[in-house]
C-alpha cells in the first residue's frame, strides 16, 4: 500500500510540474516570424506595357516589433515582400524590371515606374481583441510615376490576414505559426488588392488614361 501511495505521489508531482511548465511557457512566449510567403501566379491577362519597380531599403528592412504584456512579437517582412509586387505587377504588365536605384538609366525605356513602401503594421492577438483570431494588417503605399518623375497616382494598399486560434492547438497554442500564417495571409491579400485596383470597376481615371495612352502607342509602334 505504501508503495502504491509513493508511486501515485510521484506521478501527481510529475503531472503538476508539467502543468506549471506549460502555463509558464504559455505566459512567456510571443512570436518571432520571418515571412516566407509563396504567392501563386495570378490568372489574369496583362496590359502590353513595360514598367519598372523600385524597392526602397526601408521596405526591404522593415521589421515590426511590439510588446504585448510580457510577450514580445517580432514580424520581419523583409525581402519576401517583393513577391507581393512582383506577382501582382508581373501579372498586370507584360514586362516588369526591378530598378537598382531611383536614377536607374533603364527608366527612360519604360512606360511607368512603381514605388512601393510600407507605412505600418498592426498585429492583434486573441488575448487583446477578445476574439478567436490572430490578425495582421499591413499598410502599403504604391506610387506610380511617369519615367520623368511626373506623378500619376498613389494607392493605399491594405493587406489583411487572420487565422483562427482553434486551428493552432487547443492546449498549447502554436503562436509563432499562427502569427506567421496571419502575416503571410496579409501579404497575399495585399497582392490581391493591387490586382483588384486595376480591374475595370476600380481603376482610377488617371491610371486608365495612362494605360490607354501607352497601349495605343505600343500598338501604333507594332503596326509601324
Amino acid at each position: 500500500m505504501k508503495y502504491t501511495n509513493d508511486i501515485l505521489k510521484k506521478w501527481c508531482y510529475r503531472v503538476s510540474c508539467l502543468s506549471v511548465l506549460f502555463i509558464l511557457w504559455g505566459c512567456a512566449s510571443g512570436a518571432h516570424v520571418v515571412s516566407g510567403v509563396s504567392i501563386p501566379d495570378p490568372l489574369i491577362d496583362p496590359f502590353p506595357m513595360k514598367v519598372g519597380v523600385y524597392y526602397p531599403p526601408e521596405l526591404k528592412d522593415f521589421v515590426h516589433d511590439v510588446k504585448k504584456g510580457r510577450q514580445s512579437f517580432v514580424v520581419e517582412l523583409g525581402e519576401n515582400q517583393e513577391q507581393v509586387f512582383e506577382k501582382s505587377l508581373g501579372a498586370l504588365f507584360d514586362e516588369v524590371i526591378t530598378l537598382e536605384s531611383e536614377d536607374d538609366d533603364r527608366k527612360d525605356r519604360l512606360d511607368g515606374v512603381f514605388y512601393p513602401n510600407v507605412t505600418g503594421v498592426t498585429l492583434t492577438i486573441p488575448a487583446e481583441n477578445g476574439t478567436d483570431f490572430y490578425e495582421v494588417w499591413i499598410r502599403y503605399e504604391l506610387l506610380l510615376q511617369q519615367p520623368n518623375g511626373t506623378y500619376i497616382y498613389k494607392w493605399p494598399v491594405p493587406g489583411y490576414g487572420r487565422v483562427n486560434r482553434r486551428d493552432y492547438g487547443s492546449v498549447l497554442e502554436r503562436t509563432n505559426e499562427a502569427v506567421l500564417n496571419a502575416t503571410e495571409s496579409a501579404l497575399r491579400s495585399a497582392c490581391t488588392e493591387i490586382i483588384v485596383r486595376f480591374s475595370p470597376r476600380r481603376i482610377p481615371l488617371t491610371v486608365k488614361d495612362w494605360i490607354e495612352l501607352n497601349t495605343m502607342s505600343s500598338t501604333t509602334e507594332d503596326v509601324d
Binding site: I7, L8, C12, V15, P42, I44, D167, R188, T192, I195
Partner: protein
C-alpha cells in the same frame, strides 16, 4: 517482487495519464442532418470536386481543421470522390477565389465565362462541383469549475465539476460548375455535453461534436453527388 509490482503500477498510471491527456473520454453527442436538393447530380470518372471554406472579411471563418476533415473523409472509402483541397484550389485560381473577391452567388460564375485562363484551368483539373462549407463549433452554457491545489502532505489534487455544451453547426452549398447552377444544400448539426468531474484526478468526458459533424457532412456529400 516489490520492484516488479512498482514497475507494473508505474506503467498502469503512465498509460492512464497519457490516455486522458491525448484522447480524453467520449461525452454524449446527438447529430441531425438535413438535405435540400435543387437539381440532379452525378460525377464522371475524370471529374473531381472542390471543398472550399466560405471565408469572409468580418464573419467568423469555418475552422480549417474542419474543412480538411470533410475533404479527407469525402475522398475516403469505396464510394469516395476525388477532392481538390481548399488551399490547392484557391492557389490554382488565384486571385479569383480570395476572400474579398470570391463569387458569392452561383450566378457570379458567369463573370468567369470570358476568362479563357480560368476556363482552361477548370477543364485541366476536371472540376465539376464546388462545395462551400460554412459554420463553426461553439461552446455554450459552461457551468461549474475545477480547483486544483496542493493538499496537506504535499499531494496536488483537483476537486469540482465542470460542464459545457458544444454545438457544431455546418452547412454545405453545392454548385455545379458545368451547368453554373446551385444543385443543393446540406447541413449537419452536432450537439454534445462535455464534463470534467474531478476527485483528486480530473477525468474529462469530451463530446467531439466537430468530428461527428465532419463525418456526417462528408457522408452526405458523397451520397448527394453520387445520387
Amino acid at each position: 517482487m516489490k520492484k516488479v509490482q512498482s514497475k507494473i503500477l508505474n506503467l498502469v498510471v503512465a498509460s492512464f495519464v497519457m490516455l486522458l491527456c491525448s484522447f480524453g473520454l467520449q461525452g454524449c453527442i446527438q447529430t441531425t442532418q438535413e438535405e435540400f436538393r435543387e437539381a440532379d447530380t452525378g460525377i464522371g470518372e475524370d471529374e473531381i470536386i472542390a471543398i472550399l471554406r466560405r471565408a469572409t472579411i468580418t464573419g467568423d471563418d469555418t475552422e480549417q481543421a474542419f474543412i480538411d476533415c470533410v475533404a479527407e473523409k469525402t475522398a475516403k472509402g469505396r464510394d469516395g470522390i476525388e477532392v481538390i483541397s481548399n488551399q490547392e484550389f484557391i492557389d490554382a485560381f488565384y486571385p479569383w477565389f480570395e476572400p474579398r473577391i470570391a463569387p458569392d452567388e452561383v450566378d457570379d460564375l458567369e463573370n468567369f465565362a470570358d476568362n479563357t485562363k480560368i476556363q482552361d484551368r477548370i477543364d485541366t483539373l476536371g472540376i465539376r462541383y464546388i462545395i462551400w462549407i460554412d459554420g463553426a463549433t461553439t461552446r455554450i452554457n459552461q457551468n461549474g469549475s475545477v480547483q486544483c491545489a496542493v493538499a496537506t502532505g504535499g499531494i496536488p489534487a483537483c476537486f469540482g465539476f465542470l460542464s459545457w455544451r458544444a454545438e457544431s453547426v455546418y452547412e454545405a452549398v453545392i454548385w455545379d460548375v458545368e451547368r453554373e447552377i446551385s444543385v443543393g444544400k446540406l447541413s449537419a448539426e452536432s450537439k454534445g455535453m462535455s464534463f470534467v468531474p474531478a476527485v483528486v484526478v480530473p477525468i474529462p468526458f469530451i463530446a467531439r461534436t466537430q468530428s461527428s459533424a465532419c463525418t456526417s457532412l462528408a457522408d452526405q456529400i458523397k451520397e448527394f453527388i453520387d445520387n
